[in-house]
Symmetry: C2
Subunit: 164 residues, 2 copies
DNA sequence: AAAGATTGAGTCTTCAATCTTT
DNA sequence: AAAGATTGAAGACTCAATCTTT
């Protein structure tokens, strides 16, 4: 009788897994938008830059672009131009790799360190406000645990008896 | 002594809320990439088109662009060109709004309905495979419940002592 | 030939400015 | 003037092709 209801069922985003996905997308979209807006309103660079700078800062030694690519899950051509943008205001330094003539080593500059440090409190404040304010510590802990199952790039380790 | 450790602490993505955020980003990035790759490999349009088509299909009547904008959380200028792309292969139809001369009504076409229906099994298969294979039904249920707290666009209704 | 990285051309996104109707 | 929507120009992303070194 009710075509409307038939339609909803046919479209069917009803399985538990799909429910998770829909809400994952919405949460990500909402929070990411808030973070980017806050950074911009403070005159700071986009979040993407933060990830690059953080990764470079964590490894005190210079990294090859290939390594960054894998850590940040970015395509090679994409990263190449992202690094161009970071190099222009001298947040990073690119130098030849003495060990391999094809490669270049990427190093964070003092200005890059300072920029990341300036971004952090803004970034942190929005995430804490946008997540911490909606979840108890217990809930956040549970959620982090469950998301860890989805976050890793590896195949599901032993989900249905899969091998390594 | 250990500058390395000092550094890690200062960077501090350690709070429960931040842990949630980092894993949320990674999960989203990983699954989204899988979905887009699967759609492309089947010669289907990007996921973004699916969301527009689904929203139009759900409301059997034509929608104004402004309404779509709010449902999909897209910027006006962004949606305008997205609709251009959907209109070119005639997946949607734009007609003048009799009730308001400024507005145009967006309607899904038969071809648009068919396209969404073709995308769905691919979309569904990847999400089920990428989420369902890693979580038990119980875990998926818990996760969906927790993500619901983060997903809504409203302010945290009454975060400290929330009601239904 | 394969790996690391970059580039040209085309597509998509973003911002501000614009156009039309209310 | 404000709301709904679109557009020009500049920036960013994508793909395939390219360059250099291994």
């Amino acid at each position: 009788m009710h075509m409307h209801i038939d339609c909803e069922m046919a479209i069917g985003a009803n399985s538990p897994a799909f429910q998770v996905w829909v809400r994952l997308v919405r949460s990500h979209q909402r929070i990411r938008h808030e973070v980017e807006a806050a950074l911009k309103s403070e005159g700071l660079p986009p979040l993407e830059w933060y990830d690059v700078l953080l990764e470079l800062e964590r490894h005190n030694e210079p990294l090859r672009a290939r390594d960054l690519e894998q850590k940040l899950l970015l395509a090679q051509y994409n990263l190449s131009r992202l690094l161009d943008r970071l190099e222009k205001p001298r947040l990073i330094i690119r130098r030849p790799d003495p060990a391999d003539g094809r490669s270049r080593l990427i190093q964070i500059s003092d200005k890059g360190l300072a920029t990341r440090r300036n971004m952090w409190p803004v970034y942190r404040r929005v995430v804490e406000g946008s997540i911490g304010a909606r979840l108890t510590a217990l809930q956040a802990n549970d959620l982090a645990g469950l998301l860890a199952l989805l976050a890793s790039s590896d195949e599901p380790a032993s989900a249905h008896g899969a091998s390594a």
